[in-house]
Amino acid sequence: MKIIKHSFDGVIVGAGGAGLRAAIEAAPHMKLAVITKLYPTRSHTGAAQGGMSAALANVEEDNWNWHAFDTVKGSDYLADQPAVDILCKEAIDSVIELEHWGLPFSRLENGKIAQRRFGGHTIKEGAAPAFRACYAADRTGHMILQTLYQKCVSMGVTFFDEFQVLDIKIDDGICKGVVAYEIATGDIHIFEARAVTFATGGFGKIYKVSSNAHTLTGDGPGMLYQKGIPLEDMEFYQFHPTGIYRLGILLSEAARGEGGILRNKDGERFMERYAPTIKDLAPRDMVSRAIATEINNGNGAGPKNDYVYLDLTHLGAETIKQKLPDITDFVRTYVKIEPINEPIPVQPTAHYAMGGIPTDIYARVLSDASGSILPGVYSAGESACVSVHGANRLGTNSLLDIVVFGKRAGQSMVDYVSSTKPSSLSENAAEELVNKIERLLEKEHNPEYSVPKIREELQDSMEENAKIFRSDETLNNQTKILKNLRERYQNVTISDKGSVFNSELLEAIELEYLLDMSDTTVASALARKESRGAHSRIDHVERDDKNWLKHSFAFKNGDEVKLKYKDVELGKYEPMERKY
């Protein structure tokens, strides 16, 4: 194991949409490195399908204030409204900027960017569904990721591909750099850097059925959590209504935006009962709950009554081919049915983390619930919680989030770097990590304590106890299970002792992050005695603005989670009942 040292002004961890956007902003102004455990184009941003919203008003009248209203309402009023205003206002320029960089949006007849409808987006504060989501067929995320990467290539941004960051160095509350593991060789690289942005994406792999990639294990939040930085709003995890049955592969909301309909086993369009005005285009938390309720009431289809149908058969072959080519291909590949003729079996799938590393509107990481800033550390994208999504994210707002706040993270890095002096890290900065790795490599392998075993139990139990519907009972249960898993994790062993592409080693380290994510999710969920957005308690079904209009901050306290709270920043929109 060699130890190699690099010196940079700034480092960006993660090359998904958020990381790349930050890089484009920061690269011209500093010595910058982007470190990513996957080749940039493999990031999960590329899986995003439906679109990114901006009130361009290309199809019909629109206004960013309406977009903000929808976002706040969709968030169940937990979002911080000043941040939402920024998101929705800067959305417009962000989309145009991406277009200028080459993003091949689908087009209207007049040559402008095409826009489609999406769940929870309305005009005139709820009057009717809005055409707001800019898209490129059903591979919008793919195009965003490609375009941002292309832009970075054209700028000559420095990448460290397939380097996994495993430690951040904070001295006296000031960021000094990160330590990374080169996957192809097993070498350790120390990166001196004053400014570090975490854009490591989500952590959907805490659940069994998930639309997330195998690599989405919450590395960024996990790393910071272990250093004592809190994680915000972890109880709010979004379940997307339409994952392919059992596989969890996502079928974008665009399917419903284009007119797809959800049906139960009797063929009934059940969303009419749950959201009479916008029906199938209600926000995700509501639709997921509706599906779960249908299934619980015995209205699910199939031998186990555990799924419902997404019906696209009335859309016609041409629309499907033009607007939903990829997702219908997924159905053909993995379920072997023809979506033009047959409805598709779907079930809610773990999808998006509203919570994460707490940041302010400049993407600066907060070190406590009172708003103190951790100098030099930034976060953007799914790993961060600004919070613009509150208790429930609206579809298309995340692709927006990654570019708007990715850019801000980059700008903040520039500001910080230009006003500070280079920091230095000593050779022994890698010590902690080297010890961790050597422990894993030296310990004799015992299959009882293998990574997959612990991880599988974790995912199964989280699926069982902390998914759409939660209660004191399930969450207490899960707390015990997690405690047990954590104990077993202390003894985790691996069989691969090699230095080249040792992915088993990395999976072992990632498992700890998954445990951190689960601990904080369950602890925050257990404490929050109300139902709001994606967090629904069957023992506290009402929203409780009096006591709970606040963000939870989960701190690491030994092996326990300590919770603190921070008030929501309100604005124009007073909390009101959320009906569609």
Binding site: A47, P104, E109, D161, H214, T215, G498, S503
Partner: protein, 231 residues
Amino acid sequence: MDITLNILRYNPDSDKRGHWEEYKLEAEPDERILDLLHKVKWFDDGSLSFRRSCAHGVCGSDAMVINGENMLACQVLVKEVSNPIKIEPIRGLPVIKDLVVDMEPFFDSYKKVLPYLINDDEPGERERLQSPEDREKFEDTTKCILCAACTTSCPVFWTADSYIGPAAIVNAHRFIYDSRDTADKQRLEILKDVNGAFRCRTAFNCTSACPRGIQVTKAIEDVKRKTLTIN
């Protein structure tokens, strides 16, 4: 269903040569090949290395030779291939370990074709306009996920690794046929090189290998003809 997996293993730390390793396992017919690899890795031999991420054919991590053909392991179901299943790393790129190959030469080729929009005109406040017809012209080649299945299926690339490869040409096509781009001449200039588009001998392996269904050979032919008409 009983499955036999034969995997071509190679560990640079301990092996002088690649060797076949056999694994027997239980699988459902509609499981992905990637799931089988995971089963082997997680419950049999943890040292097996392969790349993967999205598990549904959109990230391009897991191109490999499955029963003699390039595929994404996450995109093929057990029932679609004959048993025993033979798995090898993709060809023409140096193997790092097991099914993991060095992708750097591949990405270097990609970067050679100026894979980004070039247009120095002031774009203005709003989007550049593009008609749906113009947009359609390069739709096919925007789908590329840089998985390298095409390039490593190309018989010319196996023998001549200096060939820039179909994937790079596909990505050049994406911009050459974009009405907003102004640098088609520059890209065609690059692709005129000995190792450029004219190296392609229309073997069509790339087209059959592409997991995104891109008409790769057609894109290459478009580029060749365009070069011909521009000069």
